[in-house]
């Protein structure tokens, strides 16, 4: 019993220490020379799941502080200058391989979530499959060496969820051409006055889900992003339904999340809807819902 208490206390102390380090990092209170910074980096590099989870939530919480500053408006000249710099980099093809623009800081200003992707993207543009994983591992190690030699006040964090990053990059790179028109159409939706973003929530208790359906009345199109829907057993697909009043649900279309598509685009069977629903149906879909309904969402009146 005493031994169990000791183990529990040790684990609690370890978690408290992680929270302490993550909080200090999120606030920018760890200096490069600090022993605590070294301890923090070691924990991140080790892939400690509690550190990863705590750091992410601490960084998220720090966004509250971002809203606490007195409100100020930059000059119009700042906007014009930014546009000019962007156009300059577009014209300079050499700047594509290296993220540098006039006044642009080096990797010492890199941010959690994106540091690893920054290195990976440059190397993996022409790489696919297994070689990406090896490149990611090399980049993590290489980037760690580079970050240590960064300027004195830089703060770097390495992302360790390699498989997830690889899959995400693979999807984006492999699917960019296919989703071009779908992405453009979905982008246009946000400028339309009559469009709606429908928040879907799960109907079951086992696995809470949230998702979004994008409904363009103007284009008479419905968009769904793959996001993080759970995979289905073979022979099953997700099917989207449009619900209007007391009429039977209208089938919109099926989407297979095992495909490489990130955005699924459908023609809307009606120009108006009260709600959307998603059910699990056999391959090819059904004319009326047969399988379990996993998500529903009410359509708001405007975007």
């Amino acid at each position: 019993m005493a031994e169990d208490n000791n183990i529990y206390n040790e684990e609690q102390l370890r978690r408290d220490r992680i929270e302490e380090l993550a909080a200090a990092y999120a606030l920018g209170a760890l200096s490069e020379d600090d022993q605590a910074m070294k301890e923090f980096e070691h924990l991140v590099e080790s892939g400690d799941p509690f550190m990863a989870e705590t750091l992410e939530s601490m960084l998220d919480a720090s966004t509250i502080l971002a809203f606490a500053a007195p409100e100020s408006e930059p000059s119009d000249a700042a906007r014009s200058e930014l546009l000019s710099r962007v156009q300059h980099t577009k014209n300079d093809t050499r700047s594509r391989g290296r993220s540098r623009a006039p006044g642009f800081a080096d990797s010492s200003d890199a941010v959690p979530f994106s540091i690893l992707e920054q290195k990976l993207k440059k190397r993996t543009r022409t790489l696919v499959g297994v070689s990406v994983v090896a490149g990611l591992i090399m980049c993590v190690l290489g980037s760690l060496l580079i970050f240590r030699s960064a300027e004195r006040n830089a703060r770097e964090v390495a992302v360790t969820d390699l498989k997830k990053q690889r899959d995400s990059l693979m999807v984006m790179m492999g699917d960019m051409a296919k989703t071009d028109s779908a992405a453009k159409a979905m982008f246009a939706l946000f400028s339309e006055k009559t469009s709606s973003v429908v928040t879907m929530a799960s109907t079951g208790e086992k696995q809470p889900l949230t998702h979004r359906v994008y409904f363009s009345r103007e284009q008479k199109k419905i968009f769904v992003m793959k996001e993080s829907l759970p995979p289905l057993e073979k022979g099953k697909v997700y099917e989207l339904w449009l619900i209007k009043g007391t009429e039977p649900p209208m089938p919109v279309g099926v989407f297979d999340i095992s495909s490489k598509q990130s955005i699924f685009s459908f023609s809307a069977p009606d120009n108006d809807a009260d709600a959307f629903a998603v059910s699990i149906e056999p391959d090819g879909g059904s004319k009326s819902p047969q399988g379990p309904v996993v998500m529903v969402g009410k359509v708001p009146t405007k975007l």
């Binding site: 302490e20 606030l27 998220d60 720090s62 502080l65 100020s72 980099t89 006044g103 979905m186 928040t199």
Partner: protein, 225 residues
């Protein structure tokens, strides 16, 4: 991301007024806002300038306000503002939506740049000494000083800020001071301990407890009313 158990319905503006209404809108709008940001990011990754300028117009006030509060010089803050969005331009395709909200990424990036600038010896030496244009922004503006008549989007930002400031008031003063000294004045834990005159361990505990409370407040701002 927070999971919701209810399906939002009706007009959010019809719910209870004041800070509660702003908090409800923060939750709804943050999800919707993040969706919008992701679509813009996809376009920025394709080097669409219009998409970048849309994103800039959406976040310029909040990003610039943070930068100015930290570096205290308008010209420097505007330079950093451009640097932030140039970095978004260069790294848009690397943002992983599954890792969290885009605004968290943006504000973390902004904060890093501002603190790095503040801490650089060159900046301290040449920028902060004997400057007459330094903004004295040490005090956080209270809700009472927010303008009453502004364009709708600015009014919504002001309401959101009121909700945040009311939420921050719930954190004990010593914890809040430790957070603000670190976040906005760029002080390390040992520097704060020296400034405030308490042991380093006390500051570490205050920061940890303050941030845990902030996590709870963020959850409240996002929770279903």
């Amino acid at each position: 991301m927070a999971q919701r158990n209810d399906i939002p319905s009706g007009n959010p503006e019809n719910s209870a007024g004041g800070a509660n209404r702003a908090g409800y809108r923060l939750r709804i709008d943050r999800e919707r806002s993040n969706d919008f940001d992701l679509v813009l990011l996809a376009e920025i990754a394709r080097k669409n300038e219009d998409a970048l300028m849309r994103l800039y117009d959406k976040y310029r006030r909040s990003v610039y306000s943070m930068l100015l509060r930290i570096v205290k010089i308008e010209s420097e803050a505007e330079e950093l503002l451009q640097d932030v969005f140039m970095q978004v331009w260069e790294k848009a395709e690397l943002f992983d939506a599954e890792r969290g909200y885009f605004d968290t990424w943006l504000f973390t990036l902004t904060h890093n740049k501002a603190i790095n600038t503040l801490r650089s010896k060159q900046y301290k030496k040449s920028a902060l000494e004997d400057r007459k244009d330094i903004q004295d922004l040490a005090n956080v503006v209270t809700p009472h000083t927010t303008q009453e008549t502004t364009p709708l989007s600015e009014q919504e930002d002001a309401d959101d800020r009121k909700a945040v400031l009311h939420a921050l008031d719930k954190i004990p003063g010593d914890q809040r001071d430790a957070l603000m000294l670190a976040y906005y004045d760029g002080l390390s834990q040992s520097e704060i301990a020296e400034k405030v005159g308490v042991p380093l361990g006390t500051i570490k505990t205050r920061m940890r407890q303050g941030m845990i409370k902030l996590q709870g407040l963020l959850g409240e701002l996002r929770s279903v009313k």
